[in-house]
């Protein structure tokens, strides 16, 4: 297939680029720089053409291609159809390679006027090359008879595809993966910067041009992660935006490392210290992206996660593992070889300096990353050590990361108050007073309304502190120099995020509720009524629930359906968004229930079940129809006896009221207990021949002529089981994310501007 050839051409292009870039910086040869660029651009054009072909095949339903058949179908709407491009392994590697290719074009022009292009693009080409290698092994352009040799006849065209996993079928599928891959590509760039610095033996200047790229990586990967969290919350019904799931954790780890690096790089720019730290962190950004890919795509976690990980075959497994070893080994070996010639600038051991605070904050982030990766890898670790697979509980992550989270939050406020090099204690204190004061009051309020754990109280205090201090800073910097406001704005976002984590984790309320159709139930301040289900698109069902609160009624329609694709029950929640909280309704299941009728004069007895009425215990034993005495001479008369066991004061007596059916006309014959205290009249009978135990009878029972009150006939009703929850101030999480992103964007612009050659004396100073 032409697509496969083009992938091969793209791979050749990248090899040319790799070799030519190497020669160009080795021999300082400008001509080879040109060859390298041609090679790289050929590769990117190849990736564009290959992607266009795959997209065309998907949009035109060419099901003779295994990939198209596996992940799309005729029924998919256009948006999702396009998104099925990255619904499978091969396609996700293609989109990753394509985006990495594009990012590389920017990286090339960014680095060309800074004297970095040779080394940087040499390393970056290796990354694109490895992705292309993966595409050669996992070819998205295989046809079905090539995928199933001997089983499928050549030229066969399936009528329809298997379709997309229903869990992926919403608009987040269109936006989330590409953003995540931009993050992955940016982390490739940060790796390339660190390794290029080692190749160039320039251990100090590289941080300046690299800073905006680290910020870009943190921004894009962070956005990708949060979009995934929002997706899980809004559509998948996880009940929250974060579940410490391996898929989430494994992209969180490189993000944390990139974030730590961003901060120590700022410290290096000021103090010259952290030379090795930054190189190591830079190397690990991309190695951890690869490890993340390995964890989620190699099937190693298959036994212990709710996610269904596809087994990609041993080829991909080995390849991914060797990529990790290759990129990790290459970077670290180079670092080891160059270690001696690196300048060693001791950390300013002034504890009251901003660089020291940044260092501590970065160290705390690294610890969070370390514990997260250890926890996520626990199935692998336990398998290696004990030969038995087991995973850690979510409590592991909460327990280990919270103390470091407190440190991160506090330092994100504290560092802003400190000056570079050193600060006077008096100044620090003076600047801290508003923050400490407001945080103490706010934390006090939150303790009063329900915070109990010491860790959460500390975290709350730190979260308010980072928020207040950074608002202070943003106002101050914003007045004088708005271009520098990025850090403060991003950290306001961080403060809001932390507060959102706390409110949603500590003040959330949830309740499992059964909603009998038509019966209102009070829960969490809402009056919920299940009103029945209605179709919601192809084979899907919406379960309509009205939620009434303070006179306002909102209709919620969580969706639940059995999916043919993977034979599973899909549940989508529905949410009431309010400014201060979300009311979240996740469907759990639909059941049915025997409910008593309305209280009244009759009693309904299920066969075999005892019923206590006043001091009597009455059991409906069964119908008595075959006994001869009931069959009268006249053939059109039938008598049905209702056998009742009446127990009173430990004595059991059989009482048999009867129904006489004479030519369609019903006649009821009451029966009395032997002491004539109770009289039984049959009101109606409901025999069930398939399942006699489901038979029931409704009786009118009189004691001394007075009717005993009971309940009417039972009926079967649908019961919708839902989990309702209140997510207080969850909007803080989303607003925090947006502000942090805006802050990072401002930072990127500022740092990219600072890295422009005209703003720097000399880049190529060897």
């Amino acid at each position: 297939m032409i697509g496969s050839y083009i992938i091969n051409i793209a791979f050749l292009g990248i090899i040319v680029s790799l070799v030519a870039y190497y020669i160009s910086f080795r021999n300082n040869n400008e001509k080879f720089l040109t060859y390298a660029r041609i090679g790289y651009h050929t590769s990117v054009v190849g990736l564009m053409v290959a992607s266009a072909i795959l997209m065309y095949l998907i949009l035109t339903h060419q099901f003779q291609y295994t990939y198209v058949w596996s992940y799309s179908s005729m029924a998919l709407p256009t948006g999702l159809l396009a998104a099925s491009f990255w619904a499978g392994q091969e396609g996700s590697f293609l989109i990753w390679a394509l985006i990495a290719g594009f990012v590389g074009v920017f990286l090339m022009s960014y680095s060309s006027n800074k004297g970095y292009e040779g080394q940087l693009m040499f390393v970056y080409s290796m990354i694109v090359g490895v992705l292309l290698l993966m595409l050669i092994v996992k070819d998205p352009f295989l046809r079905v008879w090539e995928s199933f040799p001997g089983q499928v006849e050549k030229g066969f065209m399936p009528a329809d595809g298997r379709g997309m996993n229903p869990l992926l079928q919403n608009y987040w599928m269109v936006i989330h993966p590409p953003v995540l891959f931009v993050g992955f590509a940016a982390m490739g760039a940060t790796y390339a910067f660190a390794v290029a610095a080692l190749l160039k033996k320039d251990y100090t200047h590289w941080v300046r041009p690299a800073t905006p790229w680290f910020a870009f990586g943190v921004l894009s990967l962070g956005l990708g992660i949060m979009l995934g969290g929002y997706w899980a919350y809004e559509t998948l019904g996880w009940g929250g935006y974060w579940a410490w799931d391996p898929v989430e954790n494994s992209s969180l780890v490189p993000w944390l490392i990139g974030l730590a690096a961003l901060h120590t790089m700022l410290a290096q720019r000021r103090s010259g210290a952290f030379v090795r730290t930054n190189l190591v962190l830079g190397i690990f950004t991309f190695v951890l992206v690869l490890y993340s890919t390995f964890l989620t795509r190699s099937g190693v976690l298959g036994a212990t996660s709710v996610h269904s990980f596809v087994e990609p075959g041993w080829m991909a497994y080995i390849l991914l593992l060797s990529f990790i070893i290759f990129f990790g080994g290459f970077g670290l070996l180079l670092l080891f070889l160059r270690m001696r010639e690196m300048p060693s600038v001791p950390i300013e051991y002034n504890y009251m300096s901003r660089e020291f605070a940044l260092f501590l904050g970065a160290a705390a982030l690294i610890f969070i990353a370390l514990f997260t990766i250890v926890g996520t890898s626990s199935p692998i670790i336990t398998n290696l050590i004990k030969g038995q697979v087991s995973a850690v509980d979510i409590s592991f992550y909460e327990q280990t990361t919270t103390p470091f989270g407190i440190a991160v939050a506090f330092l994100a406020g504290f560092a802003q108050i400190l000056w570079w090099k050193s600060s006077k204690a008096r100044n620090i204190l003076r600047n801290m007073i508003p923050g400490l004061f407001i945080s103490a009051i706010a934390t006090g309020v939150m303790i009063v309304i329900g915070l109990t754990s010491i860790m959460m109280i500390l975290l709350t205090f730190a979260a308010w502190f980072v928020l207040v201090v950074n608002v202070q800073m943003a106002v101050k910097i914003g007045k004088n120099n708005p271009r520098f406001v990025g850090g403060a704005v991003a950290h306001i976002g961080v403060g809001l995020l932390f507060l959102g984590f706390i409110t949603t984790a500590m003040y959330d309320k949830q309740q499992t509720i059964q909603l009998v159709e038509g019966e209102p139930v009070e829960a969490l301040g809402y009056t919920l009524t299940y009103t029945g289900y209605s179709p919601a698109g192809h084979e899907r069902w919406a379960f309509n629930v009205t939620a009434e609160r303070e006179g306002r009624t909102i209709n919620l329609a969580p969706v639940m359906y059995q999916s043919d694709f993977n034979n599973s029950l899909i549940r989508n929640p529905d949410i009431v968004n309010r400014l201060t909280f979300d009311f979240y309704l996740a469907p759990l299941g639909l059941d049915s229930k025997e409910v008593d009728g309305i209280a009244g004069s009759t009693h309904t007895l299920q066969r075999g079940r005892e019923k206590n009425i006043e001091d009597y215990t009455i059991t409906f034993v069964g119908f008595d129809m075959d006994s001869d005495q009931h069959v009268m001479g006249s053939s059109n008369e039938m008598v049905i006896g209702v056998d009742l066991d009446v127990s009173y004061n430990g004595e059991i007596e059989r009482v048999v009221p009867e129904i006489v059916n004479r030519a369609g006309e019903m006649d009821f014959r009451p029966a009395m207990t032997s002491d004539a205290s109770l009289e039984f009249n049959v009101v109606s009978i409901r025999p069930d021949q398939d399942n006699p135990d489901r038979s029931s009878v409704t009786l009118d029972i009189r004691k001394g002529g007075t009717q005993l009150t009971g309940t009417g006939p039972a009926k079967t009703q649908d019961v919708l089981i839902v989990e309702a929850s209140i997510q207080p101030y969850i909007n803080l999480v989303w607003v925090g994310t947006i502000l942090a992103s805006i802050g990072l964007l401002i930072t990127i612009i500022r740092r990219a501007n600072e890295a422009r050659p005209k703003n720097v004396e000399s880049w190529s100073a060897q």
Partner: protein, 138 residues
């Protein structure tokens, strides 16, 4: 300088010990019912649903009750705090996470069901699903 390095080293070691301790503490092992009963710990037990013994959902308490045989064939009554799990009937095996609260009740907070995966398509499926209306072309 040296004293500082030692202090830093000690702090790091303390953190690592804290992490290792948490790891062991929260590690949920895969084991069998016998072991789970003897240790009383929260564990994961893999096994199969004993269909003959039936199952029941108690809507009032939101509990799903079923019988499960572990790999040694020991059958235990499992009470899941929640509704019937996804794909319970078609699961080839189930993994119950929880602990014994009494001799005859394994109280579970989460039951995973392992299903015959349909993620990867097979040739039979392709031919079977569409042989009637599939078309050939050159």
């Amino acid at each position: 300088m040296n004293a500082k390095a030692i202090v830093a080293g000690v702090i790091i070691v303390i953190f690592l010990i804290f992490g290792a301790w948490s790891f062991l503490e929260s590690n949920v092992e895969y084991t069998n019912f016998q072991d789970a009963y003897e240790t009383g710990r929260t564990v994961q037990v893999e096994g199969t649903w004993v269909e003959e013994k039936g199952d029941e959902y108690n809507a009032d308490r939101n509990e799903f009750i079923f019988y499960m045989a572990d790999k040694n064939g020991q059958v235990v009554r499992v009470v899941l705090e929640g509704p019937r799990p996804n794909n319970f009937e078609i699961a080839t095996s189930v993994v119950a996470r929880g602990q014994f609260v009494s001799e005859d009740e394994f109280r579970s907070t989460n039951v995973l069901t392992k299903c015959p995966s349909k993620y990867e398509g097979t040739a039979e499926e392709m031919m079977g699903a569409s042989s009637s209306d599939g078309q050939y072309y050159e």
